[in-house]
Symmetry: C2
Subunit: 418 residues, 2 copies
């Protein structure tokens, strides 16, 4: 009896909940500032927990802060079918990234309830804690990492770039009980499938005119921390030839990142400097020191690593030519992750059953499903992002696309949980 449950999915209800959540940490320009482990994050998590309770689902928060609602199946010991995403945002982020995945999973659970759907496997609807933690800390996705035993205790001591507090302190500040962290890990075999709906965050679905992207692989990322140190000096008095301007060196490196990534067109690689700090920040001082984080990604590890090697070589050349001291350190990385064939096929079949247009595609961004995919069968579906814009106030996914995505998700979950 997996057919027809998706009839109970309501796009209007999803849009209404998107709007409700957007009131928590919303910016005047339409963007969101709901950074992980802040009072805003806590408020959004609490609201989600209330919505789960309103559906009659028991809710718990595990030792990593994941908020989990559970729809019990006929066999409570059967492996779990899990769906969800995250409610936190980037600084100046959008209203859909992560949120779409949580709310469509919630909608699927609501539809199952309304349809009286009977299933064997337990279904869990999850807000994975702090998927966007890279916006504050040098670690991403502590929630889903903990589920696969990949949140290291030293990660908890990483400090926030904005406030200086540790990840441990930040998690504690919203009431997460880290003494139960180990118990958040899910044993091998305990999850049958994870399905995450997410906004695409790129332009491909819109350009192809498709409503659903069925993700086959998630790009692997590497991040480098780079420090360039020159000599701080007076901007008026020191002649150009004497300068060791760290910010000029950083500018040259930034353009080298862009050039190296652009040069690798197929398979494509992207390279970005989204974070750069320098000192001392006065219009009349030649900057003496710059720290930057370089992010390089591709679904093809060899192409990505070749671009990263080009960038590192450029950094070393620039440092020598400009008499700058260079520190270069790989800070984090994920290999490209193929998603589970069985789950991918289930999502594809759900699209076909419902007559929703779809196409297979890679994901350029990392997601909780990718992390969970290290240990459990995981799949993802994308819904279109208008203009390909994300991590930005302009982020938009249309309600009809959210509804179509929720229906596909619901049907896929029903098939997996049956």
């Amino acid at each position: 009896m997996t057919n027809g449950v998706e009839r109970y999915v309501s796009g209007a209800r999803i849009a209404e909940r998107v709007a409700r959540l957007a009131e928590i940490g919303g910016l005047p320009n339409g963007g969101m500032n709901r950074l992980p482990f802040t009072p805003e994050d806590r408020a959004a998590r609490d609201l989600f927990a209330r919505w789960l309770s309103d559906l009659g689902l028991p809710v718990r928060v595990d030792g990593a802060g994941n908020v989990i609602g559970r729809r019990e199946g006929g066999d409570p010991t059967a492996p779990v079918v899990m769906a969800g995403s995250h409610l936190d945002t980037q600084p100046m982020g959008g209203r859909f990234d992560g949120i779409a995945g949580v709310l469509t999973a919630l909608e699927a659970a609501e539809a199952m309830g309304a349809a009286g759907f009977v299933h064997r496997h337990p279904v869990e609807i999850v807000d994975f804690a702090a998927e966007e933690s890279m916006g504050r800390f040098d670690v991403s996705m502590p929630g889903s990492r903990a589920m696969v035993g990949a949140l290291k205790s030293e990660d908890l001591e990483l400090r926030c770039r904005l406030t200086g507090e540790t990840l441990r302190e930040a998690m504690g500040s919203i009431g997460i009980d880290l003494s139960r962290l180990a118990a958040a890990e899910r044993p091998l075999g305990s999850i049958k499938a994870v399905v995450e709906l997410h906004i695409e965050q790129g332009p491909h679905l819109e350009e192809a005119g498709k409503q659903i992207g069925v993700v086959t692989t998630v790009a692997g990322s590497v991040r480098y921390h780079c420090v360039l140190e020159g000599q701080q000096a007076h901007s008026g008095a020191l002649p150009m030839a004497y300068r060791r301007d760290a910010l000029c060196g950083a500018a040259e490196l930034l353009l080298a990142v862009e050039r190296a990534a652009k040069a690798q067109a197929s398979p494509p690689v992207v390279g970005t400097v989204g974070y750069m700090d320098y000192e001392p920040r006065s219009p009349v001082i030649i900057p003496g020191r710059v720290r930057m984080i370089i992010d390089v990604r591709s679904v093809d590890a060899a192409a990505r690593d070749a671009v990263a090697a080009d960038i590192e070589a450029a950094a070393r050349r620039i440092a020598v030519a400009r008499r700058l001291h260079l520190e270069w350190r790989l800070s984090s990385g994920f290999p490209p992750t193929p998603l589970a064939r069985a789950v991918v096929d289930t999502i594809t079949r759900a699209c076909e059953d419902l007559g929703v247009s779809s196409m297979p595609m890679p994901s350029g961004a990392g997601h909780d499903a990718m992390t969970l995919g290290r240990r459990f069968p995981a799949g993802m579906l994308f819904v279109p992002s208008v203009g390909g814009i994300s991590h930005a106030p302009q982020e938009l996914t249309r309600t009809e696309d959210l509804e179509a995505g929720a229906k596909v998700l619901c049907r896929a979950l029903c098939m997996l949980a049956a």
Copy 2:
């Protein structure tokens, strides 16, 4: 009786006072954070006032915050001979910039007292308020500006880039009585000469092996505020070809500033980006907006303006090529300022009399004496900066050079005040 007063000048006493002041706002790395109109600035001003009082000199603070000690002359109505510099610093600045000029002027007054020097003109020893205010606000030198009627009331509403408070609020916060601002202006003819000793902040004296630089001209500066606006987006999901990365555009412009300044070798021009802000500052977001301040200086106005025009043309080219929106605005500027021949000659003669090696030279940096030179005869002498480093914790001027400078300053003041 102008001869011999400088015998009473003590380099050791100057060095001791440098060390005392360095305790106020000192950083662990030897640098200084004594930003204008902060509690640290106030503490340094109070200490200077105490030192003046200890010499038996009456002290007053004018309506712009200049701290003024006065050694009365035989004719209290005669035009003033003024010496001084500033006690505030840049963020992560040094222990000598400005401070050397205030303490050597104080030392000259102390020597005059010890020698029982008799003179006609009043001598004023001044800490000009907030010479380094460009480190916080988009206006420099409010103290000396006010003395020549060039501090505009709208300048008082400029906001600090660091705290958001206005200049008016910042000045009020350390007890400056702005209701008396107009009275801080000095009428034409009321000042016979201004002499400012300053550290060179460049490498030329050290390279030439001279102890004193007699400044003939102060470079003119222009500052542009530039905003580049692109589209914030996801660093992993948006392909390179779709990006409108504002930080990449800023990097290209930054290198254009460097290139344009380097290309203009004679007369030399310097160009610097010391302040740059971008948003939203996450490693996983393509930056959507950058604001930068571009500083261009030369003793040759035409050469400077040609370089500035090259930079603006580059900014417009970059904006078009990268589909960025550009805002470009001249925020402040000074013309190159020749110093007063009579004062320059007096300083040169003092060097010759004392057998101290000297050379004429331009100043790349702006100074209070330049501002006062708009209305009054002004001169400057430089003492060497080790390695040409300034606006930095490594800033250093040797005690023997401070002493030689103080002796030349003392003798020049005696000649002018006699």
